[in-house]
Amino acid sequence: MTGVWALLGALAVAGAIGVLLKVREGRISRRDDSSTADLPAPVRELLAPGVTLVQLSTTFCAPCRHAKVVLRDLADRTEGLTHAELDITNLPDVAARLGVMRTPTTLALTADGTEVLRVGGVPKRDALLAALRPHLVPPSGG
């Protein structure tokens, strides 16, 4: 009988985690304490003019591939937006300094390294573009 309860408990936990992760997937957050000084060197090297989407991935991360497809397509179609991927499988100190717990996590950084926002999980294209819009240089004539 205990086994039945254990099974029901496990199913409930799985359901709760599933709902939580689906809700949080692609959620955009902003950090108030972001300082350009403590940006790790491997990240700083990726910065391009305009806004750079630095996608942090690991070898063991299947959704990172989906995130890459979304972000690369968005960057290709958006002026002033660059996509770069950083594999942090062997760079745990970079993850720790950035406060990143899961992959993919994507940081939107300006050319001077200021963090505009970050996205956990596979980003939702339209929501991300809308959030980035104020930070992008408006296209000429627009």
Binding site: L7, G18, T58, F60
Partner: protein, 145 residues
Amino acid sequence: MPKDSPVDPRGPRFSAWMTTVVLAIVLLTGWWRLLAAQTVLFAMCAFISLKLNPWGHVYRFAIQPRLTPTTEREEAAPLRFAQGVGFVFALIGTLGYATGLTTLGMVATGLALVAALLNAALGLCLGCEAYLLLRRYAPALARPQ
């Protein structure tokens, strides 16, 4: 260690459903020998090759021919890592049941079931997403293969 080639992502999902069923049977019956067998299976997939997974063969011969072909491929590294995480929980569960620590056995099996079910139903790999966390708090477990 041989490197596995990328796989049709629906294979591991099918395999995760089968794992969920096996773990549910273990929870319901407390049949620890079945959990021991599952532990060995996890170990073979994680440490030797995903090709040793019998559910993968069932998928290829019985299910894949009935589905529309897909060009989508999933890298083997996350899958093998997930099998490794499963191995740890299944091993703790087996030891728990076998030594009379039934509660420990149930908790470990239950956690493995949660992970397998999330993988099967939603394609979520908890161990893979939380790789960075695992690496920080359990460096030996998360050592890259």
